[in-house]
Structure formats: C-alpha cells, structure tokens
C-alpha cells in the first residue's frame, strides 16, 4: 500500500468514525427529544386524568362483604338460651353491639347476662352478669345512637343503664382490646312489666329521662333532674308523668327520645306518631299527633333519630321507611310542622329495626324477611342491600365507624358484614340538584361544607358556586366587551398606524398586571369609594356621552388649519381631558342626584323600592376589576382580527361613498366577527378561571341572586379557600377536585371553540 492510499484510508477511517459519532449523537438527540416531548405533553394531559381519578370515588357505590357468620348457640356459654320462635317477645337475645375496631361484639340475654364475643368466630371472650338486676328479667332494651349507652327495662318496672368500655392496649405492636361494663343506677319507673323503653342521659346538665310503655298499657315518663343547688350530695329528683291520656287508647309500638331530652316521639299500632316537648321536665307538653303511614292502621314498627337528633326515621308494618323533620311553617302554633321529607325505597316485609350511623346521615333498616337496606337520608337514596338468607332480623347494630353491620336473625345466627362507604353523601342529585336539608322550608341549592359540630349536615351543592362563577364572568364581560371592542374598532379603523404602535403596548401592560393587585385595589380601595358614589357611577356613561357629543359638535367648527395639525385619529386624544372633566362633573352631581332622586340615601331607596340589599363588596366591583383584567385580552385579539381584514375592502367601501363609520360597522366588523367572537370567548374563559380578584373583591357568600349589588362565591375562589382545610381523601376534598374538573372542562371547551373559529378565520382571509 502506498503512503497516499494509507493516508486516504486513515482519512476515510477517521471520517467514518467521526460520522458514526455524529450519527450516534443524532440518534440520541432524536430519542431524547421524542421521549421528552411526548412526556411533557402527556404530563400536561395527565393533569386532567389525575383530577378525574380523584373524583371517581364520589360516585362509586358501597362495597360490602360478609366478614363472618356463626350460630350463637354453638358457643357453650350461650347454648342454653332459647329462641322460642313461636313468640317473638321471648327471643332470648335482646341487645347487640360492637366496638369501633369490629373485633369484639356483645349480646345481652333476658336473664341479665352480657356476653362479649369475638366477631370473627363467635367464641365467648368474657361474660358479665348485670348484677343490679338481681332477679328481674329484661323485657325491653334501648340503644343510644352513640353506641355506648344501652338501657334495659325489666319485668318489674325498673330501668338499668349500662355502659360498655373497651380498653385498648398495644402489646408487641398488636392491638389488644379488653371489654368491660359499667352499670348505672337502677331506677323504678312503673309497677308493671315494661314492654318498650327509651332512656337517654343529657351531657349538659347531668339529668336523664326514661320513657316506658308498660304491659298495662300506660305510657310513663320519668325524668331525673339534678338539683339546682349542689350543697352536699342530694339525690337527683325524679319526676314521673303519665302520658297515656293523649294516646286515646292506642297501643304504643315504638318510642324514641333525643339526647338533649327535649323531644319524645311515640309510634302506635294505628300508624300515628305522637310528639311531646320535654324541655320543661316539670310539665311535658303534648304537641301533636300525626298520621305517619300511607294507609291507616299500619303499625309503626321502628323509630330512630338520625345523627344530630333532628331527623326522625320511621319504619312501618308495610315495609315503608321514611325520613321526617320539622319544617318552618307560619300557620302552625309551634312555628313548624313535622313533615315527611323522603319516602325511601321500601323493604318487602314489616320493618324490624332501624339503626343510625354515628358518623354521617346514613342508617340501616331491617325487615322480617331478613333484608337489611343501607340508606342515606339527605340524598334520599338506598345504597346497599344485605340479606340474612331469609330469616327475620331480630337485632341490628351499626358499627361505630359506620364500616360494618351486625345482625342477629330469628334462628340465632349472627352475621357480621364489613362496609366500605367513604362518600355516602354525594350523588349527581346532591351535587347539582336541590336537596331538602334539615330545618329548611323546601329543597334548596346550598353550599355549606363545614359547621361547628361533628353532627353538622354537610351541604355540598356545586350549583351556587357554578352560578357565582357565571355571574362574575357575565358582569365582567358586560363591562369589558363594549369598551374593548369599541376601543379595538377605534384603533384599527380610525387611527393612524403609528399611533397603534404606542397604544398596543400600553394596553398590553394592562394584561401584565398581576390579578392580586387588581383584586386588592378593588376590595380595599375601590369598594369603599364606590359605596359612596353609586349614583355617580350610573350617571358617568350618560355624562360622558353628552360631553363627547358636545365635543364633536364643537370640533366641527374648529378651523381647518388647526384640524390639519392632528394626525389621523390623534384628535381623539382631546377626549382625555373631556373624560376627566366628565367624571369630575358626575362626582359633583352625585350629592344632588342622591338627594333628588333617591331621597338622600340610595341604599334605603334600593331596599325599600327595589328590595335590593347593597353589600360593600359586590358584583359591580368585581365587574370593574375582572373587566379590567379581561379588556386587554379581548382588545388585543379583536384588534388583530380587525386589522387583518384585507385593506381592499376598506378601500372599496370608502370609494363607493360610505363614511368611515359605516365602513367600520357594516363592512369590516361583520368580516372580522369570527375573530371578535373568538376574543370574547377567550376573555370569558379568563374571567371564569379568575381566582384572586373574586377572592378579594366579593363577599364570598354562596348565594344565588342576580342582583349586581351583592356578592357571590365562585368555584375557583372556593377551591382556594377550602382545599387546605379539606381532609385528604374525604368527601369535601373530592368534591373540590370535581369543582376543579368542571372549571377545567368549561375553560377548555370555550378555548377550543375560540381556537377553531380563529383557525377558520385565518383560512378565510387567505382566500379573500
């Protein structure tokens, strides 16, 4: 090989190795860019997916699973108890319950024995005889909704309250629960056997009350009142009242008493509910008797209070389950009437038990056919159906954390279900429709997510918020559209192009202003000022129009020599001082107008004549502030659209004799209208998503009212305010995600339409 070919070969080799390196670099770059680009785009779109996933659990139903079931009598300690299926009243197991971890439950038998057993296999853990009872037999039982206080009525007229306690220890990282009981004081209510009882202890004043229906047909109330003076250890006074009279001979089949010892409801065999007011223990007041069933003489078989003690749950012989509460009504002597709010999906056979959740407004109801339905009262829906394979449910208990159900059927078999029901309150109807909340006169749209107590009924309707968002956006557009579109027409049609180059950046500065600043000025500086000069606000447009017309009139007579000095359109700058003078004149007129037309105070006038309340921070302020934020957007895009109209159209129109106004309005504007429409859409999208201005310039009250003088609460501001406080994974948290999803879709939809319209417009101009 010659030196030359060797050199050439080396060159080629170097060239080819350099080429290989470069090709490798190219390949790496392509893969990096492709993966990176796709990843970025996907992650942007993933936002939507993620938010959507977080909202899905709201609409998922309830999951249930039968965790265990066992025959009670198979346990040696319980084998001796009779079931005696012929007579329901002799069913040995008279009460059941469980602790919050659902590991240990208990049953109480008529001989006064309380047996704690394991819920996994039914094996007895410990037995406690209720010693206070001595030889009496239990004939009735009652359970307080907090799952801890149980009371038993005896065959000789006594009532015994019993509390269960569960001591929890952690031994080597495992939870060990030790159950025990505390027996209360036995007290006598009557001389006969008690068939039905109710007993509650008031936390506030330490008093308690018991209501009992005896085998002799008497309805008795025994109230234990703590003495007013606490000198020494005086016994609580027992006040006994006989309430049988008002029953007019009807047989009592269910009794319910609330925890504050103020309301007593008694259900009877002929389908009536009797209501007493017990706030004054010295003299209980009979309020009313109502027909609570669809067809008369259907026995009321179960009564229970929902969490919060305001809603009454009624179950009857026909299997109907309904929710009642008091609704304000001026015609009633007490100011309200007990109204049936929901008639829920019925059970097939007579209702045997109703147990309310201790956490939310859900409850379970069982019937003689072994069916157990899980309902949610506020939304009026049935969430789940459970079944004990056909035999009547005798005793029912709802787990303290509402994550399980325990039932004992007629055959003495205990069933233990676990429930997964994280969001019972929400369905499409409660989120968007009208819901009848406790204490309201009729179904309404309400947003009130949290209250002061645990028993508060969360009201999660997104409708007032969506309404608020729309209201704010519409008022903003109402202010912004005329100003920005007319301004755009002015700049693109009537002004010299060089002026355009100074005006456009100025308007763009408007767009750059952070909305925090706008919101702050609106809320803290503008709102107090506007409050004083409302009449002036309404006279400004009129005054400005008049002044402008005067200026035009005068301008006609200005000598041509001076007129000619002004570049095309720059004579409009004369309007600057005119506007300032106009505003000052309006302000000066504010006082006289207010005295003359509004009788001195416009607020009073609005209220008495129009029925409108004036809030300092209201939609007018928000309209100004958001309008200010939206004007540059609409202006820029409209101005672009108007300027892009081919000049030959303007030229042609003017040549045919139209004046510049006619040209602008009749020729240019229609041609550019898609662009202007697109601009308005984008402005609308911006107004809907605006958070800070709305947060700072409105009163943030979730009301649904079109009045311009009161505030509103928007979806965006609501999210910003409530998400830091929403527990992760809870209902409020997910509803806020749903609100964000709504905002996302709405703005996305609007912006897409605007983009498509703009695209078409560009094509169209290419063809013109």
């Amino acid at each position: 090989m010659t030196a030359q070919t060797r050199l050439k070969k080396k060159d080629n080799q170097q060239a080819s190795s350099g080429l290989k390196r470069r090709k490798l670099a190219d390949f790496i770059a392509t893969s990096v860019v492709t993966t990176g680009g796709i990843a970025v785009i996907l992650s942007i779109l993933a936002i939507l997916v993620f938010i959507g996933i977080e909202t899905v659990p709201l609409f998922q139903g309830v999951k249930s699973e039968l965790a265990s079931s066992f025959v009670l009598r198979e346990s040696p300690e319980l084998s001796s108890y009779s079931l005696d299926n012929s007579d329901n009243k002799a069913f040995s197991f008279i009460a059941t319950g469980m602790e919050e971890y659902r590991e240990i439950g208990f049953v109480v038998t008529r001989d006064g024995m309380l047996t704690f057993l394991s819920l996994t296999d039914g094996k007895t853990i410990k037995q406690f005889p209720l010693t206070e009872l001595e030889d009496s037999k239990i004939t009735a039982s009652f359970e307080s909704v907090n799952n801890k206080l149980y009371s038993f009525g005896t065959n000789d007229g006594f009532i015994l309250p019993v509390r269960t306690n569960y001591k929890i220890d952690f031994v080597e990282e495992k939870r060990v629960i030790t159950p025990e009981i505390t027996e209360g004081d036995l007290f006598k209510v009557a001389d006969a056997s008690l068939i039905k009882i109710a007993y509650e202890e008031s936390e506030e004043d330490g008093g308690s009350a018991a209501v009992a229906y005896t085998s002799g047909g008497e309805l008795l109330l025994a109230a234990l009142v703590e003495p007013e003076d606490d000198f020494g250890d005086s016994e609580p006074k027992q006040l006994t009242h006989n309430l049988t009279e008002e029953l007019h001979g009807n047989t009592v089949t269910a009794i319910e008493l609330d925890q504050s010892l103020e309301n007593l409801f008694v259900g009877t065999q002929n389908g009536k509910i009797y209501h007493w007011d017990l706030s004054d223990k010295e003299s209980p007041e009979f309020l009313r008797a109502i027909d609570a069933t669809e067809s008369p003489n259907t026995e009321i078989t179960a009564l229970a209070f929902l969490l919060g003690d305001r809603s009454l749950l009624v179950g009857d012989e026909a299997g109907n389950v309904s929710v009642w509460f008091e609704v304000p009504d001026k015609s009633s002597p007490t100011g309200d009437i007990l109204t049936r709010i929901h008639q829920l999906s019925p059970l097939e056979l007579p209702v045997t038990n109703i147990a309310a959740s201790a956490r939310d407004r859900g409850f379970i109801a069982s019937d003689e056919g072994g069916n157990i339905n899980l309902y949610h009262a506020t939304s009026g829906q049935m969430l789940k159906e459970l079944s004990t394979e056909g035999s009547s449910v005798q005793k029912l208990a709802f787990a303290p954390k509402s994550d399980g159900v325990v039932a004992i059927d007629k055959e003495g078999k205990m069933f233990n279900w676990s429930l997964d029901n994280p969001h019972p309150e929400t369905n499409i109807k409660t989120l968007f429709g009208k819901v009848w909340y406790e204490g309201y006169q009729k179904p309404e749209y309400v947003w009130q997510s949290t209250g002061g107590t645990d028993e508060f009924e969360p009201k999660l309707s997104l409708t007032p918020l969506a309404f608020g968002t729309l209201k704010g956006a519409l008022y903003a557009l109402f202010f912004a559209i005329p100003i920005s579109i007319f301004g755009a027409i002015c700049v693109s049609q009537f002004m010299h192009p060089s002026l355009r180059n100074t005006i456009k950046p100025t308007i763009e500065i408007m767009a750059a202003l952070p909305s925090v600043v706008l919101g702050f000025l609106a809320g803290l500086w503008l709102a107090p000022i506007i409050e004083k000069i409302i009449p002036a606000v309404f006279t400004v447009p009129i005054v400005l129009t008049v002044f402008t017309l005067i200026t035009v009139f005068i301008w006609q007579y200005v000598p041509r020599g001076i007129k000619g000095r002004f570049k095309d359109g720059s004579e409009l700058f004369i309007l600057l001082p005119v506007i300032i003078i106009g505003i000052l004149v309006s302000l000066w007129l504010n006082q006289p107008i207010e005295s003359a037309i509004f009788g001195g105070s416009y607020k009073e006038w609005f209220y008495s004549v129009l029925g409108l309340q004036y809030d300092q921070r209201n939609s007018l302020i928000v309209g100004f502030a958001m309008g200010f934020a939206v004007i540059p957007i609409i202006f820029t895009i409209s101005e672009d659209a108007l300027s892009s109209v081919p000049k030959h159209m303007t030229a042609g129109s003017l040549a045919l004799g139209a004046n510049r106004w006619q040209t602008a309005i009749r020729v240019i504007l229609p041609t550019a209208s898609p662009g202007i429409f697109s601009a308005v859409m984008i402005g609308l999208g911006r107004a809907i998503g605006e958070t800070m201005i709305v947060l700072m310039a409105t009163g943030n009250t979730p009301i649904m009212d079109w009045s311009i003088f009161n505030g509103f609460r928007a979806l965006s501001a609501n999210i910003a305010v409530e998400i830091p406080e929403a527990p992760h994974g809870g209902t409020l948290y997910r509803v806020l995600f749903l609100a964000a999803l709504l905002l996302f879709f709405f703005t996305f939809f609007i912006n897409t339409i605007a983009e498509i319209v703009r695209h078409r417009l560009r094509k169209k101009y290419g063809q013109l």
Binding site: A29, I44, M510, N751
Partner: protein, 540 residues
Amino acid sequence: MNKFWKNGDPFVWLTGVALMFSLLMIAGLLWLIMAKGLGFFWPAGVTEFELQNDTKIMGEITAHEQIRGISGKSDTVEDKFRTQLKIGNRDLFGLDFRWIDDDQIVSQSEPKYAVVMERREWGNFYGFIKEITKNGAVICQGNEECWPKLEEDILVYANIYKQIRKIGKSEIGGINREIENYRLKIRGIELKGGNPEQIKQIEAKIADEENKYKEKEKELSVLYEEFTKEKVVMLSVDGREKEMALGNIVLAFRPNAMNWFQKASLYAHRVWGFVSDEPREANTEGGVFPAIFGTIMMVLIMSIVVLPFGVLAALYLREYAKQGTLVRIVRICVNNLAGVPSIVFGVFAVGFFIYGIGASIDSFFFSEALPNPTFGTGGILWASLTLALLTVPVVIVATEEGLAAVSQEIRHGSLALGATKFETTWKIVIPSAMPAILTGLILAIARATGEVAPLMITGVVKLAPQLPVDGYFPYVHLERKFMHLGFHIYDVGFQSPNVEAAKPMVFTTALLLILIVIALNLTAIVIRNRLKKKYTTSAV
C-alpha cells in the same frame, strides 16, 4: 342636525371614548399605586390639634373626608368634614387611628420638637423627649439636649440588636439544627432495630451541643443587659409618659424640623429598609425581603424546570413529529392549556405532588421525621413545579413560533451540506429561534410572578421562619415553605389584624410587584428586538 349624525363622526368619537377610557384607567391605576406606594416612605409632618373639650391630640394626617350621617344621608346643608389622624402609641391609646370632626378643632400647630419613632413593638410613637437614662441615671433632659444623644445612641443599639439577632438566629439556630438532626438520627436507628451503642454516642453529641447552647445563652444574656441599659422617657401629647429601651427603637426623626434634603435621605434609607429588612408586627411593618427572596428563588427554580421541558416539547412538535391531524390536535390542546385556570393546577399539585409524590418521598427518605411531613406538605419545590406546569404551554407556544419562523431553506441547506438533523437543530435552528425562546421564558416568568392562587395551596405562608437558602447542608432546602410578594399583598390586605395601618404597606408591595413584572416584560421586548437584529439572516 342630520348632517351631524350622517357622517358618522359622533359614533367614531364615542369609540374613541372607549379607548381613551381604557388608557385613562391604566394610567390612573399606575399613578394611584405609585403615589400611594412611594408616598408611604416620605416623612410626613406631625400636627398637633387642640380640641374643644380641652384635650390635645397629635399625629400624622392620613385622610380628610366629608361626613355622612348615620343613616347614610348627609347632614344639613353645610358641609361637615372630618380628619383621620394616625396617632400611634398603641400601647397607650389602644388604637392607631382616630377620626376627629373638623368643627371640634380649636387650633392646630406643627411642633418642631415632635419626634416620630418606629419601634420594634407597638408600632409608631409620636411624642416629645422628656429624658434619657443610662443604668438608671439621667444623662440628659428635654428635647434640645437629648435629641443628638438619641440619634447617636440609636445606632449603637442597632448594632447590639444585630449581634443579638446573629447569635439567636444563626448560632443558636445552628445548634438547634444539629440537635434536631441527631434526634432524627436516633429515631431512624430506633426504627431500624436500635443499636444502643450508636444511640449512646449520638446522645453524647447532643449533650455537647446543649453545653454549647448554654454558653451562647450566657452571651445573649450579657448582650440583653447591655441592650436595655439605656432608656428614653417619652412624653405623649396628652401628658402621659412612656419609658422604652433605646434598643427597641428602629428609627427616630423629627419631621417638622427636617429640611427637604434630610427628608430625602431618610426617604432613601426607608426605601432600602423596605427592600432589605424582615417584616415586623404581623407583616404590617418592616420590610419584605423574605418575600422578594422567596419570589425570586421560586421563579428561578421554575425557569430551570420549564425551559428545557418546554423547548423539548416544542422541538418535538415542530421538528420531529410527523405533521398531521394528531399533531394539530395536540397543538390546540397545548395552546388551550394556557387558558386553564391556575387554581386547577394548584389542585392537581395538592393531590399529585404533595399527597402523592411527597408522601412517598417522606416514607422512603424521611421516615424518622414522620408523622411530621417533610415533602408531604407544601414547599418551594412543589410551588415551583406547579408554576412550571402552568407556564410550560407559554414556552411551548413561543418556541414553536420561533422555530416556525426559521425558513425551511436554511434547514435544507444545512442538511444538504452533510449535517445531521441534530446538528442542524442544535447549531442553526435553535440559535435562530433563541429570541423567541427567551421571550417565551420571560413571558412565563412574568406570568408566574403574578400568580398567587396556586401558590396559596402549595407552600406559601404568611411568615416563614427561615429562608429556603442558608448556610447548612444541603444549602438549598426545597422542602421549606416560603414567602411570596403576591401572597403578601393578599395576606396583609385581607388577613391582618390592623388593615388600616397595613394599607400603605400593601400599596408599596403592589408597586414593587408591578415594577418587577413590567421590568420583566420590557426585558422580553428588548431582548427579542436585540437578538432579532443579531440573528436575522440577510435577505436571500
């Protein structure tokens, strides 16, 4: 008359009104913020009023308005006015501001010796000097004698205060950090099984640090003694006395005795203090330095994230992907994302970054600190990422426009000369598109500086105890919460206990924010113009 309407001029002028009104609104807004913001630092004169009920009241005049009666109607035909005074002395009077009816005023004057003091607690004080004591002994009496002494000594005590702060914050703070780290280490060892030897070693180290702490405490108590040695007794206008340590006075001046030049230098001093000091009195006084720092650092982190990803995505869309309907749809989607409300991004960040990734990071790397979250709660990292996500469409759109502006001929020429696609892109296309890329970046920054809503829920706080950057490893603490100028405006304006006192400060902060945003926007325009000239190829 008809002719008047016929040529359409009135309508033309009415459109002009709309335009001029907008221009006036912008100008008015900017002027308002500048006047109120800049005016805040100018030392206003102190006026003393004698009222009809034989009382005296003294302070700065802050407002003057016409009175409306209780029912909202204005009173009789005569104009009635009232004046608002900032009377300060909250520890004596209970409130900062008072309204007095103009017709109650008997006389007013501007006492030369009236002193305005900015204090570390209780806000401003307006009064006269009675005497100065040092270690209990009176060293001077009266306004004339004490004033020069006061001026000098305030500086001395300002130094002592700085020392106290240094020891307290950095030195003792450092010791505390060490102790905390050791404690976390012990907890980590315990979680993994527990080696008593190691634990003992670390406990010995903790004991060491605690000794150091005790020494520092001694130093501090010496300084504190020194700090409170000298006291001044001030007379308020109603005759009451107030004793305060000179160390508690930040600034003292006599506005009625200052000439224009002195006022101007005080003005400059206060402006500098505003930008460099830390906030006092629940953010209603002092400076906004932590907020400025937080805003800038967040924007920096955001830019580092958004620039590469935005350019990458735009490159992919424009250069590497097959142009068709799919890419067009993707482009429309990305454009639209710029219009999605910022709060949606915030919500996403809360769910995905904070409770998702943050919680995972915590359980892997910071399990000793649990249940206190480290990354499982808001912080500067998550806030920056949220804003990066928010502004990435802006960068993508701007970069795409820049890439589209590069003519195909240049690309073809480069490829024809043997360059690979990567080389063409990297060496020719991107530099030409650089002005557009930078514009996009700066627009993104300008937008991010003004956004507050998503930050509110991802890591901004009213008052951050430390800056995200300090002298301890790893020096940049991405999990810390920070302060932000925009949020500062919202918080001080709407959630502070004394909104009247705070309002001037909010105007100033708003002015600062606007200046930053306008400066960024102008920079974008200037850079774009400059680079356009540099990279414009000659006409072919």
